[in-house]
Symmetry: C2
Subunit: 324 residues, 2 copies
Amino acid sequence: MALSEFALIDRFFRDCGATRSDVPLGIGDDAAVLDVPPGKQLVAAIDTIVEGVHFPKGSAPASIGHRALAVNLSDLAAMGAEPAWALLSLTLPQADEQWLTEFSRGLGALARAHNVALVGGDTTSGPLSITIQVLGFIEPTRALRRAGGRAGDAVFVSGTPGDAAGGLALELSPSANDTPAHMALRERFLFPTPRLELGRLLLDFASACIDVSDGLLGDAGKLAQASGCGVQLDYAALPVSPGLVAAVGEHRARELALTGGDDYELCFTVSPSRIEDMLNAVPAGKWGYTRIGVLTADPRAAVIRDGSVMQVSHSGFDHFASPR
Amino acid sequence: MALSEFALIDRFFRDCGATRSDVPLGIGDDAAVLDVPPGKQLVAAIDTIVEGVHFPKGSAPASIGHRALAVNLSDLAAMGAEPAWALLSLTLPQADEQWLTEFSRGLGALARAHNVALVGGDTTSGPLSITIQVLGFIEPTRALRRAGGRAGDAVFVSGTPGDAAGGLALELSPSANDTPAHMALRERFLFPTPRLELGRLLLDFASACIDVSDGLLGDAGKLAQASGCGVQLDYAALPVSPGLVAAVGEHRARELALTGGDDYELCFTVSPSRIEDMLNAVPAGKWGYTRIGVLTADPRAAVIRDGSVMQVSHSGFDHFASPR
Protein backbone atom coordinates (compact mmCIF):
# COMPACT_ATOMS: atom_id res chain seq x y z
CA MET A 1 0.00 0.00 0.00
CA ALA A 2 1.30 3.49 -0.79
CA LEU A 3 1.89 5.85 2.11
CA SER A 4 -0.92 8.10 0.91
CA GLU A 5 -3.31 5.19 1.33
CA PHE A 6 -2.41 4.94 5.00
CA ALA A 7 -3.10 8.65 5.34
CA LEU A 8 -6.48 8.07 3.69
CA ILE A 9 -7.27 5.28 6.11
CA ASP A 10 -6.34 7.42 9.09
CA ARG A 11 -8.99 9.91 8.08
CA PHE A 12 -11.70 7.26 8.33
CA PHE A 13 -10.98 6.57 11.97
CA ARG A 14 -10.12 9.96 13.41
CA ASP A 15 -13.73 10.75 14.34
CA CYS A 16 -15.09 7.23 14.20
CA GLY A 17 -15.95 6.59 17.85
CA ALA A 18 -17.34 8.59 20.74
CA THR A 19 -15.78 11.87 21.90
CA ARG A 20 -14.62 11.63 25.50
CA SER A 21 -13.03 14.20 27.78
CA ASP A 22 -10.65 11.62 29.28
CA VAL A 23 -8.53 11.39 26.11
CA PRO A 24 -5.82 14.08 26.32
CA LEU A 25 -4.15 12.63 23.21
CA GLY A 26 -5.94 10.33 20.78
CA ILE A 27 -5.25 9.01 17.27
CA GLY A 28 -2.31 10.46 15.39
CA ASP A 29 0.72 10.33 17.70
CA ASP A 30 2.99 7.42 18.58
CA ALA A 31 0.63 6.41 21.37
CA ALA A 32 -2.55 7.62 23.06
CA VAL A 33 -2.58 9.31 26.47
CA LEU A 34 -5.58 8.50 28.65
CA ASP A 35 -6.94 9.57 32.03
CA VAL A 36 -8.08 6.62 34.14
CA PRO A 37 -10.62 7.76 36.74
CA PRO A 38 -9.21 7.71 40.26
CA GLY A 39 -10.30 4.73 42.31
CA LYS A 40 -11.05 2.49 39.34
CA GLN A 41 -9.22 -0.56 38.05
CA LEU A 42 -8.42 -0.82 34.36
CA VAL A 43 -9.87 -3.74 32.38
CA ALA A 44 -8.19 -4.73 29.10
CA ALA A 45 -9.08 -7.26 26.39
CA ILE A 46 -7.82 -7.96 22.88
CA ASP A 47 -9.40 -10.00 20.09
CA THR A 48 -8.68 -10.56 16.44
CA ILE A 49 -11.09 -11.53 13.68
CA VAL A 50 -9.69 -12.95 10.45
CA GLU A 51 -11.40 -13.18 7.07
CA GLY A 52 -12.27 -16.76 6.22
CA VAL A 53 -11.93 -17.80 9.86
CA HIS A 54 -14.23 -15.55 11.88
CA PHE A 55 -16.31 -14.16 9.06
CA PRO A 56 -16.93 -15.30 5.46
CA LYS A 57 -14.96 -13.76 2.63
CA GLY A 58 -16.97 -10.90 1.20
CA SER A 59 -18.90 -10.16 4.41
CA ALA A 60 -20.59 -6.78 4.63
CA PRO A 61 -17.91 -4.34 5.86
CA ALA A 62 -20.32 -2.71 8.34
CA SER A 63 -20.79 -6.11 9.96
CA ILE A 64 -17.04 -6.71 10.09
CA GLY A 65 -16.49 -3.35 11.79
CA HIS A 66 -19.32 -4.01 14.23
CA ARG A 67 -18.17 -7.52 15.08
CA ALA A 68 -14.52 -6.58 15.55
CA LEU A 69 -15.56 -4.22 18.34
CA ALA A 70 -18.49 -6.31 19.62
CA VAL A 71 -16.36 -9.38 20.38
CA ASN A 72 -14.13 -7.21 22.54
CA LEU A 73 -16.95 -5.34 24.27
CA SER A 74 -18.43 -8.74 25.04
CA ASP A 75 -15.25 -9.60 26.96
CA LEU A 76 -15.65 -6.43 29.00
CA ALA A 77 -19.33 -7.23 29.56
CA ALA A 78 -18.33 -10.59 30.99
CA MET A 79 -16.18 -8.79 33.58
CA GLY A 80 -18.94 -6.33 34.49
CA ALA A 81 -16.70 -3.52 33.24
CA GLU A 82 -17.65 -0.20 31.71
CA PRO A 83 -15.91 0.33 28.34
CA ALA A 84 -14.11 3.58 27.56
CA TRP A 85 -11.47 3.35 24.83
CA ALA A 86 -10.50 1.15 21.89
CA LEU A 87 -7.42 0.78 19.71
CA LEU A 88 -7.69 -0.69 16.23
CA SER A 89 -5.14 -2.54 14.18
CA LEU A 90 -6.43 -3.03 10.67
CA THR A 91 -4.62 -5.27 8.18
CA LEU A 92 -6.11 -5.17 4.71
CA PRO A 93 -4.99 -6.06 1.20
CA GLN A 94 -5.80 -2.67 -0.33
CA ALA A 95 -7.42 0.61 0.64
CA ASP A 96 -10.93 0.50 -0.83
CA GLU A 97 -12.70 3.73 0.03
CA GLN A 98 -16.21 2.27 -0.12
CA TRP A 99 -15.18 -0.68 2.06
CA LEU A 100 -13.50 1.61 4.59
CA THR A 101 -16.52 3.92 4.71
CA GLU A 102 -18.85 1.06 5.60
CA PHE A 103 -16.40 -0.65 7.94
CA SER A 104 -15.83 2.54 9.92
CA ARG A 105 -19.57 3.20 9.96
CA GLY A 106 -20.27 -0.21 11.51
CA LEU A 107 -17.45 0.18 14.01
CA GLY A 108 -18.29 3.78 14.82
CA ALA A 109 -22.00 3.21 15.40
CA LEU A 110 -21.34 0.52 18.01
CA ALA A 111 -18.54 2.55 19.59
CA ARG A 112 -20.73 5.63 19.97
CA ALA A 113 -23.63 3.53 21.29
CA HIS A 114 -21.41 2.49 24.21
CA ASN A 115 -19.49 5.77 24.57
CA VAL A 116 -16.24 4.19 23.39
CA ALA A 117 -13.59 6.50 21.93
CA LEU A 118 -11.24 5.15 19.26
CA VAL A 119 -7.93 6.46 20.56
CA GLY A 120 -5.28 4.70 18.50
CA GLY A 121 -4.69 2.59 15.51
CA ASP A 122 -2.36 0.97 13.10
CA THR A 123 -2.98 0.08 9.47
CA THR A 124 -0.87 -2.41 7.58
CA SER A 125 -1.19 -4.22 4.30
CA GLY A 126 -1.76 -7.96 4.37
CA PRO A 127 -4.56 -10.53 4.49
CA LEU A 128 -7.76 -8.99 5.89
CA SER A 129 -7.68 -9.18 9.68
CA ILE A 130 -8.86 -6.83 12.40
CA THR A 131 -7.54 -6.64 15.94
CA ILE A 132 -9.22 -4.42 18.47
CA GLN A 133 -8.13 -3.82 22.00
CA VAL A 134 -10.61 -2.35 24.43
CA LEU A 135 -10.01 -0.67 27.75
CA GLY A 136 -12.59 -0.05 30.44
CA PHE A 137 -13.05 0.45 34.15
CA ILE A 138 -14.29 -1.52 37.09
CA GLU A 139 -14.75 -0.79 40.76
CA PRO A 140 -11.74 -2.30 42.56
CA THR A 141 -11.89 -6.07 43.27
CA ARG A 142 -15.40 -6.34 41.79
CA ALA A 143 -14.61 -7.79 38.34
CA LEU A 144 -16.64 -10.91 37.48
CA ARG A 145 -14.11 -13.69 37.06
CA ARG A 146 -14.56 -17.13 35.59
CA ALA A 147 -13.16 -18.62 38.77
CA GLY A 148 -15.78 -17.42 41.29
CA GLY A 149 -18.34 -20.21 40.89
CA ARG A 150 -19.06 -22.95 43.47
CA ALA A 151 -20.71 -26.32 43.21
CA GLY A 152 -24.44 -25.78 43.61
CA ASP A 153 -24.48 -22.36 41.93
CA ALA A 154 -27.16 -22.05 39.28
CA VAL A 155 -26.02 -21.48 35.69
CA PHE A 156 -27.73 -18.88 33.51
CA VAL A 157 -27.33 -17.68 29.94
CA SER A 158 -28.55 -14.49 28.30
CA GLY A 159 -30.34 -14.39 24.96
CA THR A 160 -30.96 -17.35 22.69
CA PRO A 161 -27.64 -19.01 21.90
CA GLY A 162 -27.36 -20.86 18.62
CA ASP A 163 -28.97 -18.04 16.64
CA ALA A 164 -25.62 -16.72 15.44
CA ALA A 165 -24.51 -20.16 14.24
CA GLY A 166 -27.86 -20.55 12.47
CA GLY A 167 -27.38 -17.10 10.95
CA LEU A 168 -23.87 -17.91 9.80
CA ALA A 169 -25.11 -21.04 8.03
CA LEU A 170 -27.65 -18.88 6.21
CA GLU A 171 -24.93 -16.34 5.34
CA LEU A 172 -22.88 -19.13 3.80
CA SER A 173 -25.72 -20.36 1.57
CA PRO A 174 -27.73 -17.24 0.76
CA SER A 175 -31.17 -17.70 -0.69
CA ALA A 176 -33.43 -15.34 -2.60
CA ASN A 177 -36.32 -16.42 -0.37
CA ASP A 178 -35.03 -15.19 2.96
CA THR A 179 -37.88 -15.04 5.45
CA PRO A 180 -37.95 -12.34 8.13
CA ALA A 181 -37.01 -15.11 10.61
CA HIS A 182 -33.97 -15.97 8.51
CA MET A 183 -32.97 -12.34 8.33
CA ALA A 184 -33.26 -12.07 12.11
CA LEU A 185 -30.90 -15.04 12.53
CA ARG A 186 -28.40 -13.53 10.10
CA GLU A 187 -28.57 -10.29 12.07
CA ARG A 188 -27.55 -12.20 15.21
CA PHE A 189 -24.40 -13.33 13.43
CA LEU A 190 -23.66 -10.08 11.61
CA PHE A 191 -24.42 -7.66 14.43
CA PRO A 192 -24.08 -9.37 17.82
CA THR A 193 -25.07 -7.37 20.89
CA PRO A 194 -22.45 -7.10 23.63
CA ARG A 195 -24.37 -7.48 26.91
CA LEU A 196 -22.69 -4.60 28.67
CA GLU A 197 -25.64 -3.35 30.71
CA LEU A 198 -26.47 -6.85 31.90
CA GLY A 199 -22.83 -7.44 32.87
CA ARG A 200 -22.86 -4.29 35.01
CA LEU A 201 -26.09 -5.37 36.75
CA LEU A 202 -24.70 -8.84 37.44
CA LEU A 203 -21.86 -7.38 39.53
CA ASP A 204 -24.22 -7.49 42.51
CA PHE A 205 -25.34 -11.07 42.01
CA ALA A 206 -23.18 -13.33 39.85
CA SER A 207 -20.43 -15.50 41.33
CA ALA A 208 -18.72 -16.03 37.95
CA CYS A 209 -19.23 -15.00 34.34
CA ILE A 210 -17.88 -15.76 30.85
CA ASP A 211 -18.91 -14.56 27.45
CA VAL A 212 -20.23 -17.19 25.07
CA SER A 213 -18.08 -16.94 21.98
CA ASP A 214 -17.01 -20.53 21.23
CA GLY A 215 -20.27 -22.31 22.02
CA LEU A 216 -22.28 -22.37 25.26
CA LEU A 217 -21.26 -25.86 26.33
CA GLY A 218 -17.56 -25.25 25.83
CA ASP A 219 -17.64 -21.84 27.47
CA ALA A 220 -19.75 -23.00 30.42
CA GLY A 221 -17.17 -25.78 30.76
CA LYS A 222 -14.35 -23.23 30.87
CA LEU A 223 -16.13 -21.27 33.59
CA ALA A 224 -16.72 -24.48 35.55
CA GLN A 225 -13.11 -25.58 35.14
CA ALA A 226 -11.78 -22.18 36.27
CA SER A 227 -14.08 -22.47 39.30
CA GLY A 228 -12.84 -25.98 40.10
CA CYS A 229 -16.24 -27.46 39.30
CA GLY A 230 -18.07 -29.35 36.61
CA VAL A 231 -21.34 -28.28 35.02
CA GLN A 232 -24.64 -29.91 34.16
CA LEU A 233 -26.80 -28.22 31.57
CA ASP A 234 -30.49 -29.06 31.18
CA TYR A 235 -31.27 -29.83 27.53
CA ALA A 236 -34.93 -28.96 27.90
CA ALA A 237 -34.17 -25.62 29.59
CA LEU A 238 -31.95 -24.30 26.79
CA PRO A 239 -33.50 -21.10 25.45
CA VAL A 240 -33.84 -21.59 21.72
CA SER A 241 -35.49 -18.96 19.57
CA PRO A 242 -38.64 -19.80 17.62
CA GLY A 243 -36.86 -18.51 14.51
CA LEU A 244 -34.00 -20.95 14.93
CA VAL A 245 -36.38 -23.83 15.58
CA ALA A 246 -38.35 -22.89 12.46
CA ALA A 247 -35.15 -22.76 10.41
CA VAL A 248 -33.40 -25.95 11.54
CA GLY A 249 -35.84 -27.93 13.70
CA GLU A 250 -36.03 -28.41 17.46
CA HIS A 251 -33.18 -30.88 17.90
CA ARG A 252 -30.65 -29.09 15.70
CA ALA A 253 -31.61 -25.79 17.35
CA ARG A 254 -30.67 -27.19 20.77
CA GLU A 255 -27.46 -28.62 19.35
CA LEU A 256 -26.56 -25.19 17.95
CA ALA A 257 -27.48 -23.57 21.27
CA LEU A 258 -24.92 -25.85 22.94
CA THR A 259 -22.11 -25.82 20.41
CA GLY A 260 -22.63 -23.03 17.87
CA GLY A 261 -20.22 -20.13 18.25
CA ASP A 262 -20.37 -16.35 17.90
CA ASP A 263 -23.30 -15.74 20.25
CA TYR A 264 -21.59 -13.16 22.49
CA GLU A 265 -24.11 -13.80 25.21
CA LEU A 266 -23.18 -14.03 28.89
CA CYS A 267 -23.09 -17.32 30.77
CA PHE A 268 -23.04 -16.68 34.52
CA THR A 269 -23.48 -18.44 37.81
CA VAL A 270 -25.38 -17.34 40.89
CA SER A 271 -25.32 -18.73 44.40
CA PRO A 272 -28.76 -20.16 45.35
CA SER A 273 -29.04 -17.59 48.14
CA ARG A 274 -28.77 -14.72 45.63
CA ILE A 275 -31.12 -15.94 42.92
CA GLU A 276 -34.31 -14.44 44.28
CA ASP A 277 -32.72 -11.04 44.83
CA MET A 278 -31.37 -11.13 41.30
CA LEU A 279 -34.71 -12.08 39.79
CA ASN A 280 -36.28 -9.13 41.61
CA ALA A 281 -33.61 -6.57 40.77
CA VAL A 282 -32.78 -7.76 37.25
CA PRO A 283 -35.98 -9.33 35.94
CA ALA A 284 -35.24 -12.27 33.67
CA GLY A 285 -38.05 -11.32 31.28
CA LYS A 286 -36.77 -7.80 30.83
CA TRP A 287 -33.10 -8.77 30.59
CA GLY A 288 -33.63 -11.93 28.61
CA TYR A 289 -31.76 -14.58 30.55
CA THR A 290 -32.61 -18.18 31.44
CA ARG A 291 -31.60 -20.69 34.09
CA ILE A 292 -30.05 -23.63 32.28
CA GLY A 293 -28.15 -25.76 34.77
CA VAL A 294 -25.95 -26.07 37.80
CA LEU A 295 -22.26 -26.20 38.75
CA THR A 296 -21.30 -29.60 40.16
CA ALA A 297 -18.60 -31.00 42.41
CA ASP A 298 -18.03 -33.70 39.77
CA PRO A 299 -15.55 -31.99 37.44
CA ARG A 300 -17.16 -33.23 34.23
CA ALA A 301 -19.40 -31.25 31.93
CA ALA A 302 -22.64 -32.87 30.90
CA VAL A 303 -25.93 -32.18 29.23
CA ILE A 304 -28.91 -33.88 30.86
CA ARG A 305 -31.84 -34.93 28.70
CA ASP A 306 -34.79 -36.85 30.10
CA GLY A 307 -32.71 -37.72 33.14
CA SER A 308 -29.73 -39.19 31.28
CA VAL A 309 -26.41 -37.75 30.14
CA MET A 310 -26.41 -36.78 26.48
CA GLN A 311 -23.56 -37.12 24.01
CA VAL A 312 -22.79 -33.97 22.05
CA SER A 313 -20.94 -34.33 18.77
CA HIS A 314 -18.70 -31.29 18.81
CA SER A 315 -15.10 -30.77 19.69
CA GLY A 316 -16.19 -28.12 22.17
CA PHE A 317 -17.54 -30.98 24.23
CA ASP A 318 -14.41 -33.13 24.00
CA HIS A 319 -12.35 -30.17 25.15
CA PHE A 320 -13.39 -30.58 28.75
CA ALA A 321 -15.25 -33.89 28.88
CA SER A 322 -12.46 -35.62 30.74
CA PRO A 323 -11.65 -34.71 34.34
CA ARG A 324 -8.57 -32.55 34.68
CA MET B 1 -6.67 -25.36 14.71
CA ALA B 2 -8.11 -27.79 17.23
CA LEU B 3 -9.18 -26.42 20.59
CA SER B 4 -6.45 -28.34 22.34
CA GLU B 5 -3.90 -26.45 20.24
CA PHE B 6 -5.20 -23.16 21.62
CA ALA B 7 -4.80 -24.55 25.12
CA LEU B 8 -1.24 -25.51 24.24
CA ILE B 9 -0.51 -22.02 22.99
CA ASP B 10 -1.92 -20.48 26.16
CA ARG B 11 0.65 -22.36 28.17
CA PHE B 12 3.50 -20.69 26.26
CA PHE B 13 2.41 -17.22 27.27
CA ARG B 14 1.17 -17.61 30.81
CA ASP B 15 4.59 -16.93 32.34
CA CYS B 16 6.19 -15.29 29.33
CA GLY B 17 6.69 -11.73 30.55
CA ALA B 18 7.61 -10.04 33.82
CA THR B 19 5.72 -10.69 37.04
CA ARG B 20 4.19 -7.50 38.40
CA SER B 21 2.19 -6.80 41.53
CA ASP B 22 -0.16 -4.43 39.70
CA VAL B 23 -1.90 -7.24 37.79
CA PRO B 24 -4.77 -8.51 39.96
CA LEU B 25 -5.99 -10.68 37.05
CA GLY B 26 -3.81 -11.60 34.08
CA ILE B 27 -4.01 -14.10 31.22
CA GLY B 28 -6.81 -16.65 31.30
CA ASP B 29 -10.05 -14.77 31.92
CA ASP B 30 -12.22 -12.77 29.51
CA ALA B 31 -10.12 -9.67 30.20
CA ALA B 32 -7.23 -8.54 32.39
CA VAL B 33 -7.70 -6.35 35.47
CA LEU B 34 -4.91 -3.85 36.10
CA ASP B 35 -4.01 -1.29 38.76
CA VAL B 36 -2.93 2.03 37.27
CA PRO B 37 -0.76 3.95 39.77
CA PRO B 38 -2.56 6.98 41.20
CA GLY B 39 -1.50 10.27 39.67
CA LYS B 40 -0.26 8.77 36.40
CA GLN B 41 -1.74 8.94 32.93
CA LEU B 42 -2.12 5.78 30.89
CA VAL B 43 -0.26 5.52 27.56
CA ALA B 44 -1.49 2.99 24.97
CA ALA B 45 -0.15 1.86 21.60
CA ILE B 46 -0.97 -0.98 19.21
CA ASP B 47 1.04 -2.36 16.30
CA THR B 48 0.78 -5.36 14.02
CA ILE B 49 3.54 -7.16 12.15
CA VAL B 50 2.60 -9.42 9.25
CA GLU B 51 4.69 -12.17 7.68
CA GLY B 52 5.87 -11.16 4.23
CA VAL B 53 5.20 -7.48 4.98
CA HIS B 54 7.12 -6.62 8.15
CA PHE B 55 9.41 -9.63 8.27
CA PRO B 56 10.47 -12.19 5.67
CA LYS B 57 8.72 -15.54 5.48
CA GLY B 58 10.70 -18.02 7.56
CA SER B 59 12.21 -15.41 9.92
CA ALA B 60 13.64 -16.71 13.19
CA PRO B 61 10.69 -16.97 15.60
CA ALA B 62 12.70 -15.40 18.45
CA SER B 63 13.19 -12.33 16.27
CA ILE B 64 9.50 -12.19 15.39
CA GLY B 65 8.56 -12.33 19.08
CA HIS B 66 11.13 -9.67 19.94
CA ARG B 67 10.13 -7.34 17.12
CA ALA B 68 6.40 -7.64 17.76
CA LEU B 69 6.97 -6.22 21.24
CA ALA B 70 9.87 -3.89 20.33
CA VAL B 71 7.87 -1.93 17.74
CA ASN B 72 5.28 -1.20 20.42
CA LEU B 73 7.77 -0.39 23.17
CA SER B 74 9.38 2.01 20.71
CA ASP B 75 6.06 3.88 20.49
CA LEU B 76 6.03 4.20 24.28
CA ALA B 77 9.68 5.31 24.24
CA ALA B 78 8.74 8.10 21.84
CA MET B 79 6.20 9.38 24.39
CA GLY B 80 8.68 9.20 27.27
CA ALA B 81 6.41 6.61 28.91
CA GLU B 82 7.30 3.76 31.23
CA PRO B 83 5.91 0.44 29.93
CA ALA B 84 3.99 -1.91 32.21
CA TRP B 85 1.69 -4.36 30.45
CA ALA B 86 1.21 -5.98 27.06
CA LEU B 87 -1.59 -7.91 25.37
CA LEU B 88 -0.83 -10.27 22.51
CA SER B 89 -3.01 -11.36 19.62
CA LEU B 90 -1.31 -14.14 17.71
CA THR B 91 -2.69 -15.39 14.40
CA LEU B 92 -0.84 -18.39 13.03
CA PRO B 93 -1.51 -21.12 10.49
CA GLN B 94 -0.75 -24.01 12.85
CA ALA B 95 0.54 -24.59 16.36
CA ASP B 96 4.18 -25.62 15.98
CA GLU B 97 5.63 -26.27 19.42
CA GLN B 98 9.23 -25.46 18.45
CA TRP B 99 8.17 -22.23 16.76
CA LEU B 100 6.07 -21.21 19.76
CA THR B 101 8.90 -21.98 22.18
CA GLU B 102 11.29 -19.70 20.35
CA PHE B 103 8.73 -17.00 19.65
CA SER B 104 7.73 -16.81 23.31
CA ARG B 105 11.39 -16.82 24.32
CA GLY B 106 12.13 -13.81 22.12
CA LEU B 107 9.03 -11.98 23.30
CA GLY B 108 9.54 -12.92 26.94
CA ALA B 109 13.19 -11.87 27.12
CA LEU B 110 12.43 -8.36 25.90
CA ALA B 111 9.34 -8.13 28.11
CA ARG B 112 11.27 -9.08 31.22
CA ALA B 113 14.14 -6.74 30.31
CA HIS B 114 11.69 -3.85 30.51
CA ASN B 115 9.52 -5.20 33.34
CA VAL B 116 6.52 -5.70 31.05
CA ALA B 117 3.91 -8.26 32.11
CA LEU B 118 1.97 -10.12 29.42
CA VAL B 119 -1.55 -9.81 30.81
CA GLY B 120 -3.82 -10.98 28.02
CA GLY B 121 -3.94 -12.65 24.70
CA ASP B 122 -5.89 -14.15 21.90
CA THR B 123 -4.82 -16.88 19.51
CA THR B 124 -6.52 -17.51 16.21
CA SER B 125 -5.74 -19.51 13.13
CA GLY B 126 -4.93 -17.63 9.95
CA PRO B 127 -2.00 -16.15 8.04
CA LEU B 128 0.92 -15.43 10.42
CA SER B 129 0.43 -12.02 12.00
CA ILE B 130 1.16 -10.66 15.46
CA THR B 131 -0.56 -7.72 17.11
CA ILE B 132 0.68 -6.43 20.43
CA GLN B 133 -0.83 -3.69 22.48
CA VAL B 134 1.28 -2.08 25.19
CA LEU B 135 0.20 0.01 28.13
CA GLY B 136 2.42 2.23 30.21
CA PHE B 137 2.42 5.30 32.42
CA ILE B 138 3.46 8.90 32.19
CA GLU B 139 3.45 11.80 34.60
CA PRO B 140 0.37 13.91 33.77
CA THR B 141 0.68 16.30 30.82
CA ARG B 142 4.34 15.39 30.26
CA ALA B 143 4.06 12.98 27.30
CA LEU B 144 6.37 13.83 24.40
CA ARG B 145 4.11 14.62 21.48
CA ARG B 146 4.93 14.97 17.83
CA ALA B 147 3.31 18.38 17.85
CA GLY B 148 5.54 20.21 20.34
CA GLY B 149 8.31 21.37 17.99
CA ARG B 150 8.90 24.97 16.87
CA ALA B 151 10.80 26.47 13.97
CA GLY B 152 14.42 26.79 15.06
CA ASP B 153 14.41 23.70 17.28
CA ALA B 154 17.34 21.40 16.61
CA VAL B 155 16.57 17.90 15.30
CA PHE B 156 18.34 14.85 16.76
CA VAL B 157 18.26 11.14 16.12
CA SER B 158 19.43 8.25 18.27
CA GLY B 159 21.57 5.38 17.02
CA THR B 160 22.63 4.85 13.42
CA PRO B 161 19.52 4.72 11.24
CA GLY B 162 19.74 2.70 8.05
CA ASP B 163 21.36 -0.27 9.77
CA ALA B 164 18.08 -2.18 10.01
CA ALA B 165 17.34 -1.67 6.30
CA GLY B 166 20.88 -2.81 5.51
CA GLY B 167 20.35 -5.82 7.77
CA LEU B 168 17.04 -6.68 6.15
CA ALA B 169 18.67 -6.65 2.71
CA LEU B 170 21.25 -9.13 4.04
CA GLU B 171 18.48 -11.26 5.55
CA LEU B 172 16.79 -11.43 2.17
CA SER B 173 19.93 -12.60 0.37
CA PRO B 174 21.81 -14.66 2.95
CA SER B 175 25.42 -15.48 2.25
CA ALA B 176 27.72 -18.13 3.69
CA ASN B 177 30.43 -15.47 4.08
CA ASP B 178 28.68 -13.23 6.58
CA THR B 179 31.22 -10.92 8.18
CA PRO B 180 30.81 -9.83 11.81
CA ALA B 181 29.79 -6.41 10.43
CA HIS B 182 27.07 -8.06 8.36
CA MET B 183 25.87 -9.99 11.36
CA ALA B 184 25.72 -6.77 13.39
CA LEU B 185 23.51 -5.16 10.73
CA ARG B 186 21.23 -8.18 10.64
CA GLU B 187 20.94 -7.97 14.44
CA ARG B 188 19.71 -4.39 14.10
CA PHE B 189 16.87 -5.63 11.92
CA LEU B 190 16.13 -8.82 13.86
CA PHE B 191 16.42 -7.45 17.39
CA PRO B 192 15.82 -3.68 17.42
CA THR B 193 16.31 -1.86 20.72
CA PRO B 194 13.42 0.25 21.94
CA ARG B 195 14.98 3.44 23.34
CA LEU B 196 12.92 3.51 26.51
CA GLU B 197 15.54 4.92 28.90
CA LEU B 198 16.46 7.66 26.46
CA GLY B 199 12.79 8.56 25.99
CA ARG B 200 12.37 8.95 29.75
CA LEU B 201 15.44 11.19 29.97
CA LEU B 202 14.22 13.35 27.09
CA LEU B 203 11.09 14.30 29.03
CA ASP B 204 13.09 17.13 30.58
CA PHE B 205 14.51 18.46 27.32
CA ALA B 206 12.75 17.49 24.09
CA SER B 207 10.02 19.65 22.56
CA ALA B 208 8.73 16.81 20.34
CA CYS B 209 9.56 13.18 19.62
CA ILE B 210 8.66 10.39 17.19
CA ASP B 211 9.97 6.90 16.77
CA VAL B 212 11.71 6.14 13.50
CA SER B 213 9.89 3.16 12.04
CA ASP B 214 9.16 4.14 8.44
CA GLY B 215 12.41 5.92 7.59
CA LEU B 216 14.06 8.91 9.26
CA LEU B 217 13.18 11.44 6.59
CA GLY B 218 9.52 10.46 6.48
CA ASP B 219 9.19 10.29 10.25
CA ALA B 220 11.04 13.58 10.84
CA GLY B 221 8.64 15.03 8.28
CA LYS B 222 5.66 13.71 10.25
CA LEU B 223 6.99 15.30 13.43
CA ALA B 224 7.57 18.58 11.59
CA GLN B 225 4.12 18.50 10.04
CA ALA B 226 2.44 17.81 13.39
CA SER B 227 4.42 20.75 14.82
CA GLY B 228 3.32 23.04 11.98
CA CYS B 229 6.88 23.26 10.67
CA GLY B 230 9.12 21.94 7.97
CA VAL B 231 12.44 20.23 8.52
CA GLN B 232 15.93 20.47 7.04
CA LEU B 233 18.24 17.52 7.56
CA ASP B 234 21.99 17.83 7.04
CA TYR B 235 23.21 15.03 4.74
CA ALA B 236 26.77 15.18 6.08
CA ALA B 237 25.60 15.04 9.71
CA LEU B 238 23.61 11.82 9.33
CA PRO B 239 25.07 9.23 11.69
CA VAL B 240 25.87 6.19 9.54
CA SER B 241 27.56 3.17 11.05
CA PRO B 242 30.95 2.05 9.72
CA GLY B 243 29.45 -1.40 9.21
CA LEU B 244 26.71 -0.06 6.97
CA VAL B 245 29.18 2.04 4.99
CA ALA B 246 31.41 -1.02 4.59
CA ALA B 247 28.46 -3.09 3.39
CA VAL B 248 26.80 -0.70 0.94
CA GLY B 249 29.12 2.28 0.47
CA GLU B 250 28.93 5.81 1.82
CA HIS B 251 26.22 7.20 -0.44
CA ARG B 252 23.85 4.26 -0.16
CA ALA B 253 24.39 4.20 3.59
CA ARG B 254 23.18 7.81 3.86
CA GLU B 255 20.25 7.02 1.58
CA LEU B 256 19.28 4.12 3.85
CA ALA B 257 19.74 6.32 6.92
CA LEU B 258 17.17 8.70 5.41
CA THR B 259 14.66 6.28 3.94
CA GLY B 260 15.26 2.76 5.28
CA GLY B 261 12.63 1.55 7.74
CA ASP B 262 12.58 -0.54 10.91
CA ASP B 263 15.17 1.43 12.89
CA TYR B 264 13.06 2.06 16.00
CA GLU B 265 15.31 4.92 16.97
CA LEU B 266 14.01 8.20 18.38
CA CYS B 267 13.92 11.40 16.36
CA PHE B 268 13.42 14.40 18.65
CA THR B 269 13.62 18.15 18.68
CA VAL B 270 15.09 20.46 21.30
CA SER B 271 14.74 24.21 21.70
CA PRO B 272 18.12 25.95 21.26
CA SER B 273 17.92 27.19 24.87
CA ARG B 274 17.74 23.62 26.17
CA ILE B 275 20.46 21.96 24.10
CA GLU B 276 23.37 22.67 26.41
CA ASP B 277 21.51 21.42 29.46
CA MET B 278 20.57 18.26 27.61
CA LEU B 279 24.11 17.63 26.43
CA ASN B 280 25.28 17.93 30.03
CA ALA B 281 22.56 15.79 31.60
CA VAL B 282 22.19 13.20 28.84
CA PRO B 283 25.62 13.02 27.20
CA ALA B 284 25.34 12.37 23.47
CA GLY B 285 28.32 10.03 23.51
CA LYS B 286 26.87 7.85 26.24
CA TRP B 287 23.32 7.86 24.90
CA GLY B 288 24.25 7.67 21.25
CA TYR B 289 22.37 10.48 19.61
CA THR B 290 23.34 13.04 16.96
CA ARG B 291 22.21 16.49 15.89
CA ILE B 292 21.07 16.18 12.28
CA GLY B 293 19.06 19.25 11.37
CA VAL B 294 16.55 21.92 12.26
CA LEU B 295 12.82 22.59 12.18
CA THR B 296 11.94 25.37 9.75
CA ALA B 297 9.11 27.84 9.27
CA ASP B 298 9.01 26.77 5.61
CA PRO B 299 6.70 23.74 5.76
CA ARG B 300 8.72 21.62 3.33
CA ALA B 301 11.07 18.81 4.24
CA ALA B 302 14.48 18.88 2.71
CA VAL B 303 17.92 17.30 2.88
CA ILE B 304 20.80 19.74 2.49
CA ARG B 305 24.02 18.52 0.87
CA ASP B 306 26.90 20.86 0.15
CA GLY B 307 24.58 23.83 0.58
CA SER B 308 21.92 22.70 -1.89
CA VAL B 309 18.64 20.80 -1.51
CA MET B 310 18.96 17.13 -2.37
CA GLN B 311 16.40 14.93 -4.10
CA VAL B 312 15.67 11.69 -2.34
CA SER B 313 14.19 8.86 -4.39
CA HIS B 314 11.77 7.32 -1.93
CA SER B 315 8.05 7.61 -1.48
CA GLY B 316 8.70 8.63 2.13
CA PHE B 317 9.98 11.88 0.74
CA ASP B 318 7.08 12.45 -1.64
CA HIS B 319 4.68 11.93 1.23
CA PHE B 320 5.37 15.35 2.70
CA ALA B 321 7.46 17.13 0.06
CA SER B 322 4.64 19.44 -0.98
CA PRO B 323 3.45 22.18 1.37
CA ARG B 324 0.20 21.35 3.10
